[in-house]
Point group: C2
Chain length 132, copies 2
């Protein structure tokens, strides 16, 4: 039986990968409503913790996520969505394909980030500009 274990905030962690090549695109969260909408419509819905609101991914950018497969892990506290990204095939709010565009290394004992050079696939500044 599918009985996802929502945390104290009513959320479950969601890992999102590209169904075609397996690239890790993002990590997000769903509440029960977002999960139900995702299962019913086949389009990924999340709960935005920063905006404290239901979030139909792609509503502004057009980069909706069509769910090819949903999986859950052994203790059902995480979900895995394998998706096909529509629009620009970009998932990150910076316009990049993946949110995970930086590697972490140790330099002189300190954690350091290195950008992998991936380029924005759309102009995030224009897309997310707020109407004045």
């Amino acid at each position: 039986m599918f009985s996802p274990r929502f945390d104290a905030a009513g959320l479950v962690t969601v890992v999102v990968t590209d169904a075609e090549d397996g690239m890790l695109l993002m990590v997000a969260h769903m509440n029960a409503q977002a999960l139900a909408l995702t299962l019913e419509t086949g389009i990924a819905h999340y709960w935005s913790r920063s905006r404290n609101a239901l979030w139909k991914k792609g509503e502004t950018s057009g980069n909706f996520q069509h769910v090819v497969e949903m999986r859950t892990d052994c203790d059902q506290d995480a979900l895995w969505l394998r998706v096909k990204v529509l629009g620009h095939d970009a998932t990150c709010h910076t316009g990049r394909r993946s949110c995970f565009y930086r590697t972490v290394g140790l330099v002189d004992g300190k954690g350091t980030l290195v950008d992998d050079g991936s380029k924005p696939l759309f102009d995030a500044e224009v897309t997310y500009r707020k109407p004045v």
Copy 2:
């Protein structure tokens, strides 16, 4: 600058994939100590929320995770480890390669799980048996 955003419990979410074929193996959590140990040793350490303890993955089963690459996402509240699994090449406590061995579907409007048929790579009952 690498400055992971630990949550109120002092934890950051970690997505773990196989460095070779990209298979999603598990989702876990790290506190600052587990992260530091992982960076220093190159072997994945986590924080076990169920045992409330530092967790060197593989200590009982031998399935240690050698970190090939660490990445972080745009807002640094999630980490991605690309690993080579030692021992039985199994990550799940059930003995399977991946914790995500079940797909989720809708049957008559209800979420339903289907096992993907992956077999245990070690005998979890023997490996995790508590000494009497």
